[in-house]
């Protein structure tokens, strides 16, 4: 009897959250419509991503919902001084919520440098499944082990990790890589299992509550991946009755869930397939267990590069920025990484552009301008 009541209460608790989220979504939408009165929806313009992100943020903080109203406006004209203070409060441009660069060592960096002997390494959470971002090339002969090699991780993210290690510890290889599933990135940082996460991680307001981010180092947006023969044309009503695969704990899933609730995504779309790593979605797609994959365009492109029978459908429908994630209180490390990012962008020989050319130009159609992050702004003060 008691059990039953408890179970019922537990059930109700879940519905309460959903109900609150739904109410908040509806309220935000209503106010947004009332105040802007413009026909342009946030959905089809890639620039509107921050709005989408804040949407999900406010949805989870029902009392803040009325504050969400002016946001679609500010998202189109970001960075105004008047907006800055308010933005720090309720977060519209998460990619700007970072500390200004500095070379100075602080407690977080000292702790890494003081690791004894062989342990004096930077512990970094990466992915080993993202082709050209962070992956094990089974045919590379690096490692010199005599057993065929293929154990080194490589890719765009990995280049950045080596750069950070070289800067902090003076040795690009003083790194201990830990492969981390998408949903484990934040817990891994919070528990101190890794110093930083460089793993195609989108900077979002939600995540800023748990971890600190560097300035953005890459720009991308959600895109749909489907077989070339598929009738799906993009992120639109052709997704009705289709099964979509996303990585567990990814921004893609959050966006799909939100849009299905708001009706921007057909309600008959099945988004229940969630996998530990984005690449597992390609497996499900090839096995016919799902009809489409929603993923960051940068990652979707690297999936398409592994299978010539699938392609990206439609344009990116959000804008997202990748950042390096660190522990929330590791201020000196955040500043240091921001400094490293500034140098990396400036370095023409061995910097951002060189890594882009090596790893990504083939999968992302050569043009790097679409992927370049905006000039960094450092609005976080402490």
């Amino acid at each position: 009897m008691l059990n039953k009541a408890r179970r019922m209460r537990a059930g109700l608790r879940g519905w309460g959250g959903v109900g609150a989220m739904f109410t908040a979504c509806a309220l935000a939408l209503l106010l947004a419509l009332l105040l802007t009165c413009t026909g342009s929806t946030a959905r089809t313009t890639p620039d509107a991503a921050p709005a989408a992100d804040t949407g999900s943020n406010t949805a989870r903080n029902a009392p803040n919902a009325p504050n969400a109203a002016p946001r679609p406006g500010t998202a189109h004209a970001p960075g105004t001084m008047a907006g800055a203070a308010a933005e720090a409060e309720d977060c519209t441009a998460p990619e700007k919520q970072t500390l200004s660069p500095s070379d100075a060592d602080g407690p977080a960096i000292e702790a890494i440098k003081n690791r004894p002997g062989e342990k004096r390494k930077l512990i970094v959470g990466v992915d080993q499944n993202s082709y050209r971002w962070g992956y094990r090339n089974p045919n590379s002969d690096a490692g010199g082990s005599g057993n065929g090699g293929g154990t080194r991780l490589e890719g765009f993210d990995i280049d950045l990790v080596h750069r950070i290690a070289e800067d902090i510890l003076g040795d690009p290889d003083a790194v201990q890589f830990k492969a981390i599933p998408t949903a484990q990135r934040i817990p891994a940082i919070q528990s101190g299992r890794v110093d930083l996460v460089v793993r195609t991680m989108t900077i979002t307001c939600d995540r800023l509550k748990d971890v600190a981010f560097s300035a953005p180092y890459f720009k991308t947006g959600q895109q749909v991946l489907a077989p070339k023969t598929s009738p799906v044309t993009g992120y639109d009503e052709t997704l009705a009755d289709r099964r979509i695969c996303t990585a567990k704990g990814s921004t893609a899933y959050a966006k799909l869930e939100e849009d299905r609730k708001s009706g921007d995504l057909p309600a008959s779309t099945d988004i229940s397939t969630q996998v530990p790593n984005q690449l597992d979605c390609l497996v499900r797609l090839q096995l016919g267990e799902v009809d489409a994959v929603v993923n960051d365009g940068a990652l979707a492109a690297s999936q398409a590069a592994q299978d010539p029978t699938v392609e990206l459908k439609g344009d990116a429908f959000t804008t997202e920025y990748y950042g390096v994630a660190m522990k929330k209180d590791a201020d000196d490390l955040v500043r240091r990484v921001n400094q490293i990012l500034v140098d990396w962008r400036k370095d023409t020989k061995n910097g951002w552009q060189a890594s882009y050319d090596t790893w990504l130009s083939a999968t992302l159609a050569g043009d790097s301008s679409k992927s370049e992050p905006p000039a960094p702004e450092y609005l976080r003060k402490s």
Binding site: E118, S130, G150, T151, K178, I180, R193, L279
Partner: protein, 462 residues
Amino acid sequence: MTLTQTRSAEAPPAAPAEPPAPTPPRRTAFAEGADRLRHAATTEPGRLRIIGALLAALVLGFGAVTAWETTDRASAADDVLTSSQPLSSDAADIYRSLADANTAASSGFLAGGQETAESRARYEKGIRTAADKLVTAAANADPDSPSTPTISKLNRLLPEYKGLVERARTYNRQGFPVGGAYLRYANEKMQQEMLPAAEDLYTKENQRLRSDYGRATPYPWLAIALGTAALAALAWAQRRNYLRTNRILNHGLVAATVTTTAVLLWLLVGHTLARSGLNDSHDHGVRSLTVLNDARIASLKARGNENLTLVARGAETRKVGDETVDAYDYDFERNMDTLAKGLTHARRLADDSTGEKPVAAAVGNMTEWQKRHDAARKQDDNGNYQQALNMVIGPRGTTGECFDNVDANLATALKHEQNEFKSAATDGRDALTGLPVGAAVLAVIGALGAVLGIGRRLSEYR
């Protein structure tokens, strides 16, 4: 059973008391017969006829029940030896080969694009063995037996699994990480669907083995009781004979006594031998085999988890108390504990030096394995992934060598115990050979003897 048997054997003397037998106009054949019997019982020749019939029936009944009960036990013993034990060890083999193939596949993946010929061969061998044994298991399972759905499930999953591994291999060769994703998917299928199904099959086959043992070993009480009753009846008849005629020996009755005694002794000795042989095969064969199989499976699981620790590179974690630990490494330690316990147990069960030697060697291999594993983990924890990898799947001085040695030693021990089982169970089964036929023939002779012996006394009244 016992009651009806006894009653039918004693029916003739009981019958006269039962029918009320008034004087109805028309009498039934039964009433007439009963009447005649009652009349007969009042005269000595009549009594002798009844005694003769009774003795013959008792001896014949004893022979028939002996033949029936021992046939049953002999066939159960034969099942233990030729059907259920081989099937149970086949089921263990299925589990082992599946786990082995999966471990080989993950080792191949760890080695990079050029997987070694050995790991490829090992993988293929595992799949082949599993497929072969599945066919045997399917052929031996009745359509409605509980193992059948499990067998067909495994038959369905095996090609699926193989397809996933082949895809993983192809993508791996092309240098695409989606190969690794396929391997993870295949591993998931193996761990979550196939191995549990194989374990289920193993459990069911073991149940069948246990029930066959249960049918083969109980004492044939009914036959023993009937034999004793027949002997007692013969003794009483001979004493009666002696008291009435002062003759000590009646050849026919003596022959009947001798054959009945022979059957009873044969039954007791044969069954006791069979029982001890079978019990022996269980205690020294099956029990050791089970423990060794479990240990071998634990070592395989440990090896698989050791590889996966490096494949996953910290991707899977688990909370143990307040600590977050690597899930695969945690499982590895559990598997090693199981292995250690299994080996200790197996060593205790081993009853001769031939059986103990490989187990002792396996214990040594396991200790070395744990030592090397700890060293490899230390390297990995220090961020020296490549060194750690070399210590696990490298060319020399690896944990892989230790695992191979453990596996080989356990295989030797298993083979030895299998032989022990076989010889003990064969002895057990063979102790019953000829008993059913022998009992039947001797009983017929005994019954004839009884009839002839009584007939000789009867002829004196003519």
